[in-house]
Symmetry: C2
Subunit: 204 residues, 2 copies
């Protein structure tokens, strides 16, 4: 059985849960509170030298890190990963876009708003994060005005990668009212088996 | 024939050149100076709505963006892309690490040092970029002390993705003398056919 070292309040970790639940794969979730240093212990660093969650432990004991690499691994061979060579690369295009442009803005804004004290000096980063995050949302909105999902007409791992922090963007102070196509896409994803909102939206 | 819209001074663009040259694929390089706004024209945005280089144009007219997605596409079916499912995901792990942790530190530091005026307010970002960049180099060094290349004993697209900005890190003010395993890896990559240093290192 797979083991997932993850933090339930993290969108990157929520991606793993969504794919495993959607594919009805059994797994053990090991809650790992990075705020308490649980990802910086020598034992954890032997699993992922970067010291970050999520980490997937395979039944044979091998480890895999980086959320989008993990969901690509889990999806490979299922309808969540396309078989066409160009569609595979186009799926990865959105996933790299997510890690390079979307996550550093959208996830970071949420982190600053939700997890840092109200007098944190990092609060001054929020306007910049909102600017670059809205640029990312505009690119997604433009695509979703012409297609039900990001790569093809069906949901795949690129949608899951971008759903994770987009569906809780308001928690980072984003006004999502100007993105109706993104709103429709979020609803379409939530209608599919195993895909759920992140607990943080209810819990905080 | 492939067309590549790229800027020769960009490490992300240099990745594409390396893979095409290594695989002896003919291509047309269309120099695109993002500093002069060439990636923000309506025509360019129709190729890549994100407004960034590189962009690959396929012989059939389709476009692909995000450097690591492009090199995955080009490498697929060649020895630069592994056939094993876990090795594929492990390759992507390093490529996501590159776009999320390495490039925002190492490439950005080089951009600030090489391309911005000496009185730019962004110069104050350099110490932070050097700290996170050195964290990324430490992870690479640890891996390269035990393996000739990042994923397996042979070079693949993950090595190319991380080589691009690592081999010109000094241009961003990094002291690389503490990373002997990285230095050896750079030399091993440069011994392979078609793999070259970026012109910027000579031209600036």
């Amino acid at each position: 059985m797979y083991k997932v070292y993850g933090m339930s309040l993290s969108g990157n970790c929520h991606k793993i849960r969504m794919v495993l639940d959607h594919l009805a794969q059994p797994y053990e979730w090991i809650e790992t509170d990075i705020g308490q240093g649980a990802s910086r212990t020598p034992e954890f660093l032997s699993r992922n030298p970067v010291g970050k969650v999520p980490v997937l432990e395979l039944p044979d004991g091998r480890y895999l890190s980086e959320s989008n690499a993990i969901i690509q691994y889990l999806a490979n061979g299922s309808p969540l990963w396309p078989s066409d060579r160009f569609e595979q690369a186009d799926t990865l295009k959105w996933m790299f876009f997510e890690q390079n442009r979307h996550e550093p803005s959208v996830a970071e804004a949420r982190y600053i708003k939700l997890f840092l004290p109200a007098d944190s000096p990092r609060l001054k980063e929020l306007p910049g994060k909102h600017k670059t995050g809205n640029e990312a949302f505009s690119v997604m909105e433009q695509r979703l005005l012409e297609s039900d999902f990001l790569v093809t007409s069906r949901c795949n791992v690129a949608d899951i990668a971008l759903f994770a922090y987009t569906h809780v963007a308001e928690e980072g102070g984003f006004d999502m009212s100007g993105y109706p196509a993104i709103a429709g896409w979020i609803e379409r994803i939530l209608e599919l088996p195993g895909f759920t909102r992140m607990v943080a939206q209810h819990g905080l």
